[in-house]
């Protein structure tokens, strides 16, 4: 498969990554090589095989809904790059 400029730009939007022009060129070549290698899976017939997310059966885990004290706001926001009044501070999102 050929990885086009449009595809790299689209992947960038999905991944929230902005690549420099130079990075973009390298990424195109490398991704193409890696994805073509991944295409070797097509030589294995998987008809009728169920996709397996977990190696062991994993079920929803439930617990009693018991009220417990939650972590302090002060502690939760301790590592925030920007904060105000016990909240994470972000640029204005609604005009």
């Amino acid at each position: 498969m050929k990885i086009t400029d449009e595809m790299i730009d689209y992947i960038g939007i999905l991944a929230r990554l902005k690549l420099q022009d130079e990075e973009k060129e390298t990424a195109k070549t490398e991704l193409e090589k890696i994805i073509n290698y991944m295409d070797t899976l097509n030589t294995l017939d998987t008809t009728g095989i169920e996709a397996m997310s977990h190696a062991f059966p994993v079920k929803n885990v439930f617990r009693e809904d018991v009220i417990k004290p939650s972590v302090d706001r002060e502690i939760i926001t301790l590592n925030a790059p920007a904060k105000k009044d016990g909240c994470f501070k972000v640029p204005k999102t609604v005009e």
Partner: protein, 490 residues
């Protein structure tokens, strides 16, 4: 014998017998790091004062009988992708600059409760994505066994700290071989437990369905003891298995054990010295009473593409949490919220991490999902089935850990695909969720260590560790030490 050269259990028993004090042992370990680690750079953070305070407290606990673990008072260190309360945890990435977790991962907390002294945090590939410990924002860790050799990865710091006698044991994490391959390259013993055995709470996620924390140490007895402390159910990790902590019984008896050698693991691409050494180890196990037999496992060739599709897909989702808002690095200049996301992530992640996020975003994107992600999950099922078939006949599978010995620093960085292919013998184990251990089994003509890999069926840690133990009881590869440089010579 020099203190640093002893095993974890030897130090632990001397502390218990009051021949050594915890503060004394901790001081010696910190001085040793100061002296040795300039050359190898296994540590990214050393917790000097904290470790000494901890040591005093632990000594009191031992004295008053509240701390009884054989590991009480023994200094250890932790890979930098496990949260440690109040201690920098960077995942070797710029995007976690300055991040001091407000809680500790369950594995670390359990060790602390058992009286472990934490010396510091260890270098790794950024977000555990890599096989060389070269993609770290902190720079390269050096393998003490060779001039200018990489330690393997991603738990390179965890393997080197043990190989260079800087820590008595360490914790690493293994998503596709990240404990086993560096253990092999550094001549130490490492275990990737069965998925769900050790809680992943507080382990910064790379690929959640494959990640597992495990110990690296000087021999099988040491890591068996560490496993007994860190294993067991944790309600904070819903994939952790409902079982008590694992107690390993090592009896050195492997008579009649059926060991399978997958023929396909010994074919093209395997270095001839590694091959010879692993086959010699198989002979040794035969002499010890095991029944060794070759068998076929052709599905192996599909493990790498399936692994990288699944791991990258999960990574692209897991790493979306790094957005410059909640913790870590935030770009200083931005127009709006979206711009803050883009800039923080683009400036904060290194190239290999960006590459894997992009691969993941691609294989999950509409139009490609079935052809890649779904297909990989089907291949995963096939690989699991082929292991299930093998374990109907064998108690354990013996194989090489990696196709080569430790590579030169820089040798693999320029070609990501080449690096991925080096994971050929390790990734299938993670896809199937199995336990797998590496023990040293020889050296190549350049004096670089070779490790064999023992894989068992799910929850058969005792089985594979006993085989490894029997091997170590009749060989001395695990006791060999590199000639260490001190100061800034490396």
């Amino acid at each position: 014998m020099e203190l640093s050269k002893m095993t974890a259990l030897e130090i632990g028993s001397k502390i218990k017998a009051k021949e050594l004090g915890v503060v004394e042992v901790t001081k010696a370990a910190l001085e040793n790091i100061e002296k040795t680690d300039k050359a190898y750079r296994a540590f990214v953070t050393v917790c000097g004062e904290k470790a000494l305070t901890q040591a005093e407290k632990i000594q009191k606990g031992i004295d008053d009988g509240t701390l009884t673990s054989p590991l009480a008072g023994v200094p250890m260190a932790v890979k930098d992708n496990m949260c440690t309360e109040g201690v920098l945890t960077t995942c070797a990435s710029k995007i976690l600059t300055g991040f001091k977790p407000t809680y500790s991962s369950t594995a670390v907390r359990k060790l602390e409760d058992a009286g472990a002294v934490i010396l510091g945090k260890l270098n790794m590939d950024e977000f555990a994505m890599g096989s060389t410990t070269e993609t770290s924002v902190h720079g390269v860790t050096v393998n003490p066994w060779g001039e200018n050799r990489a330690p393997g990865g991603s738990s390179g710091g965890s393997a080197v700290a043990v190989a260079a006698d800087e820590a008595y044991y360490t914790l690493g994490s293994d998503t596709g071989g990240s404990i086993r391959q560096p253990a092999a390259f550094c001549g130490v013993t490492g275990l990737k437990p069965t998925y769900g055995t050790v809680s992943r709470y507080g382990l910064i996620a790379y690929a959640s369905s494959l990640d597992q924390i495990g110990p690296i140490g000087k021999n099988v007895e040491d890591i068996a003891e560490v496993l007994s402390v860190i294993s067991g159910h944790d309600p904070k990790d819903s994939t952790s298995v409902k079982q008590d902590s694992i107690k390993i019984t090592l009896d050195n008896n492997i008579k009649g054990k059926r060991i399978g050698l997958p023929k396909d693991y010994f074919g093209e691409g395997l270095n001839s010295e590694v091959k010879a050494s692993v086959l010699a180890a198989a002979k040794k196990l035969e002499e010890l009473g095991a029944i060794v037999e070759e068998f076929e496992m052709p599905e192996l060739q599909y493990a790498i593409p399936a692994y990288y599709i699944i791991a990258c897909a999960e990574a692209s989702s897991n790493l979306s949490r790094f957005d410059g808002v909640k913790y870590g690095y935030a770009s200083p200049e931005f127009k709006d919220l979206t711009d803050l996301y883009y800039k923080s992530r683009s400036e904060g992640f290194g190239m290999e991490v960006k590459r894997r996020i992009m691969i993941g975003a691609f294989v999950l994107s509409s139009g490609y999902y079935d052809a890649y992600y779904k297909k990989a999950l089907q291949v995963k099922a096939i690989i699991k089935q082929s292991f299930d078939r093998a374990f109907e006949k064998y108690d354990c599978i013996l194989s090489p850990t990696a196709p080569t010995t430790a590579l030169k620093i820089g040798e693999n960085l320029s070609d990501p695909l080449k690096m991925y292919l080096g994971d050929i013998y390790t990734v299938s184990v993670n896809l199937a969720g199995l336990p797998s251990m590496v023990v040293p089994c020889g050296f190549d003509s350049q004096g670089l260590p070779i490790g064999l890999q023992l894989t068992g069926k799910a929850f058969s840690e005792n089985e594979i560790m006993n085989v490894g133990y029997a091997f170590q009881q009749s060989t001395d590869y695990h006791t060999k030490k590199p000639v260490l440089k001190t100061g800034k010579e490396a």
